[in-house]
Assembly symmetry: C3
Homo-oligomer: 441 residues x 3
Amino acid sequence: MNEMVGLTNKVVEQTDPKVVGVELHDFAKELYPICRSITGEGIRQTLDLIGGRIPLRKFNVPTGTRVFDWTVPKEWNIRDAYIKDSNGRRVVDFQKSNLHVLNYSTPIRAKMTLRDLKSHLFSIPERPDWIPYRTSYYKEEWGFCLSQKQLLAMNEGEYEVCIDSDLEDGNLTYGECYLPGETTDEVLVSCHACHPSLANDNLSGLTVATFLANLLSKSDRRRYSYRFLFIPGTIGAITWLAQNRETVGRVQHGLVLTCVGDSGGFHYKKSRRGSAEIDRAAAHVLKHQAEPFEMLEFSPYGYDERQYCSPGFNLPVGCMMRSVWGTFPEYHTSADNLDFIRPDQLAGSLRVCAEIVDVLENNQTYRNLNPFCEPQLGRRNLYRTTGGGAIGEEINARLWVLNLSDGEHSLLDIAERSGIPFSLIRGAAEVLQQAGLLAAI
Amino acid sequence: MNEMVGLTNKVVEQTDPKVVGVELHDFAKELYPICRSITGEGIRQTLDLIGGRIPLRKFNVPTGTRVFDWTVPKEWNIRDAYIKDSNGRRVVDFQKSNLHVLNYSTPIRAKMTLRDLKSHLFSIPERPDWIPYRTSYYKEEWGFCLSQKQLLAMNEGEYEVCIDSDLEDGNLTYGECYLPGETTDEVLVSCHACHPSLANDNLSGLTVATFLANLLSKSDRRRYSYRFLFIPGTIGAITWLAQNRETVGRVQHGLVLTCVGDSGGFHYKKSRRGSAEIDRAAAHVLKHQAEPFEMLEFSPYGYDERQYCSPGFNLPVGCMMRSVWGTFPEYHTSADNLDFIRPDQLAGSLRVCAEIVDVLENNQTYRNLNPFCEPQLGRRNLYRTTGGGAIGEEINARLWVLNLSDGEHSLLDIAERSGIPFSLIRGAAEVLQQAGLLAAI
Amino acid sequence: MNEMVGLTNKVVEQTDPKVVGVELHDFAKELYPICRSITGEGIRQTLDLIGGRIPLRKFNVPTGTRVFDWTVPKEWNIRDAYIKDSNGRRVVDFQKSNLHVLNYSTPIRAKMTLRDLKSHLFSIPERPDWIPYRTSYYKEEWGFCLSQKQLLAMNEGEYEVCIDSDLEDGNLTYGECYLPGETTDEVLVSCHACHPSLANDNLSGLTVATFLANLLSKSDRRRYSYRFLFIPGTIGAITWLAQNRETVGRVQHGLVLTCVGDSGGFHYKKSRRGSAEIDRAAAHVLKHQAEPFEMLEFSPYGYDERQYCSPGFNLPVGCMMRSVWGTFPEYHTSADNLDFIRPDQLAGSLRVCAEIVDVLENNQTYRNLNPFCEPQLGRRNLYRTTGGGAIGEEINARLWVLNLSDGEHSLLDIAERSGIPFSLIRGAAEVLQQAGLLAAI
């Protein structure tokens, strides 16, 4: 039976999900404190930690580089930020949470009244304990995010405001893990690595992608080449596409991974094409696993599938999530922390991704070498011996593969039409091929 | 934002629906008393009243003219009709309701017993107060329609019967309002104008079509040419098609309007093609308005879409109704009177038609001039400035238009796929075009 | 109106269903006692009885003949079989039920303990009174089937075991009833005739097919040629296909008939093609009859549609059943007896099959000779005379046929789209053709 198990799954199956889940969560914990943004030291530290686990190449693209309709922005770095009250007490302190600063804030050092300060403060009145996450990448601005409780505790009076940041020419940095396969046809896995201390969005994606790359790097055979991107959202995807415009046509299948650590069921957002092989593989795998799931139609808002699926590229890239961004209250707040993501959910997401890869790797088309009537499976010990009773799922899978292997149905087609899990269909194809009844096209 | 509002809707929006509704109903009231039939003075008087409101050309087609498999019939005119009892009292009187005479009755002047008269009398036993509407266009016959109560009140005895009508060589008359546009491609709007004092069927259609033509005549720009037909049912549509056989191919979209004044929700019957642009435009508009509606599949029985959708023509002509003919008890009876149609419903029907026209006029296909990745909307002030929160429907519409404007999706395609109202999608296209990001194909 | 009634239905309608049902059941009763198998005297006796009712040609194919991947097996014949206890009493007796012997058992004559005997005994613990039906065609084996009660009544001790059978070179025999039609295009009806005393599976199929062939043989006109096959399951279909490989392409429509006598509703399993004309004809007929029914997707396990629908042939052959094999507890047990099948159900199945044949025979495509607007049906007495009321289904059918007869819609297409029964649509086409308004293509 071992032949029937996918290369990827073999690795997953040899790995205790409990253990993998804890390892995934531990890696998220390592990455959590870093203050990431779309440029700067935070993303480079993050890439270094990922690079300690998988082969990773870092790319630096200088400020000012034109990338399609966009320009690579100045590099942002921050050392400290606070609001001190008249007693010199830090009432808002970047050292306690990097969410406290409006991401990409220009430097400031000033004294001002609460009244003047207020237009630079962001809070969530309905969630008085949570700090919101806000950014201002493309409009030079400064600001602080704080809990509603903190805001209410601030008395009128003068405050000392400090954001010790730089916004200067530098680089946009992203990381690529490329695993060559038997062909240069590629599977793309992309995660945004630009969010500061937010766990589900998107340390969950970063850790699952890192572990998936690690599993794949250990495979002795890969049909496809794999490219894992760890990039700043939007501008990173645009930069990567601009720099690889001539070769992105190699991408045969792609997945954006995000929000894959929370306790929600799976949501797979289809590619713009709507019925690409990656969409069908994801649907099949989700249908045959135990957790609840939903298939979502493509829409042009979301994560970096926005760029991969822009009309000039229209790549077959879907997006795997658990809870959908914006639909859970913790989204883009300090409550999206390490407690919000769970070892079991991270491990489950990794398994689903590995199973999708398994479908893609093994989704071949065969030809029944004995297409006129059924072959006599019994004399090859591929059938039950006493007639009159029922047949099992294994024999049923063989009959389906034989019946539909006319050169026009892939194994995924057969799995979909029969309702039988891909792994069983694929196992049947292997057994039949060994028996000389089937040939790969 | 004014640019985003359709030409037609602009007019509609400048018009108080309460006022328009009353005006529509008032016009129906003017038309109500006339005794129309498929030929004769009644239809000519009706066309004169319509011609007082919109540019209208009358066409006369002589009796005996061959129109495909049919022949234009003799012209019918009627002055008076009654049944008098032995006391000389009019027990059935055409002067009280023109429904009392079997439409197209041959002249008669005779005395006869009730027994002999009975085979010429039509009533509705289940609706004792209502007079039915019956016709005998193609078989020479005479008769009276009366309420069941009237019938029961008639004693045995002799009656004087008089139908003072002519059935002689003359003309079939119909009216056309032609509004030229930028192209000779046409939108056809067709109503039957042959029913006597029946309000929903079809004074509602006549009034709504007249007002729609009036609105369109005031537009400073029309992409399509518009042809409004006010014709006798069946024979009129056949005659028009026969006389315009060479040019009917210009009809790109068409609507039959009937029964659009009662209190029921909308029913749109699709063209024979089933997914013509008019069918999709109607479905879209109905989906995004507040009243209940139902889309009906094409069938070959109904109104003049029967002729427009005959296999030799197969024109993309649907039929807009509120309640469907034959499904409401008032249908083809004296209860289909001015109380049965309502100002608000007439105004609502006019608005829906105007919105459909608006979709047709503006359903163009664009090309995203920046198809590789999203363009940077922010620096064009077409995006929100602070990141991290949600985007509004307006920005969402822009993203949809950019994403699907690959030259293969019209604005209606985009509205359908996104679920966003056409007006918003069209507004987004205008804004993007002004920003130099989109070009019409 | 007689012209509108199908040839087949004419016969059915002239036949009292009560009477036909009893005749069908009586024929099943005649066939029931015979011990059939995939070869041997039992199937030949069966074919002789069928041949007494319809023209039937028997074919003998010698043991050892290669048929695709298979080989025609040795011929099996059995005279007696029993298990005697130490008192010489037959505790299991083939003379009481031919199910008692494992079908295709090799001969044996031996004494053995219950312990040694047990691996050769088959029973159904959950159904203590029923004898299971088991076979061992392709693995030389012997065995007995018995009720759980019988098994439990057997004490430890020695038993005398006798199976007086031959398994020797001989022939595989099958029967064909061929009814030539106007073309050599064929309708195939196939039943397996290899099961011993089992009524629903498949004496029901054999009797219905025999009666259907009989009805068709009496038709004075057949558009298609008909081929009825009475064959051993699996190996018989494979043998027939191997021997007719060059000509099976003539099969335009096909039905496997099985389990059509029980009290369940209809189940039609579609051909591998999924929307072949036979699939659509069956769906239409089932939709317009009174009993519950279900359409099942194709799957490669089941009856001989497995072979006809193998990818090398992919013939348009579906399978008509009432209860589906394996879903009723009586399946492949002694409880599938003459009480389990019912005269009314057999007659109902025959009628459904005849109606399907009627659709196939009459499903032609016509051209409306007057395609521009409706023709004037009234002057041809094909319409009602007084206008203003409703039209009947008969006139409606005429309008549908006229509207869709553009050369691209068959009568079945029209019946499907209109929702009107095929017989009415076909009647309308005949009337319109007689009126010179329609021509067959």
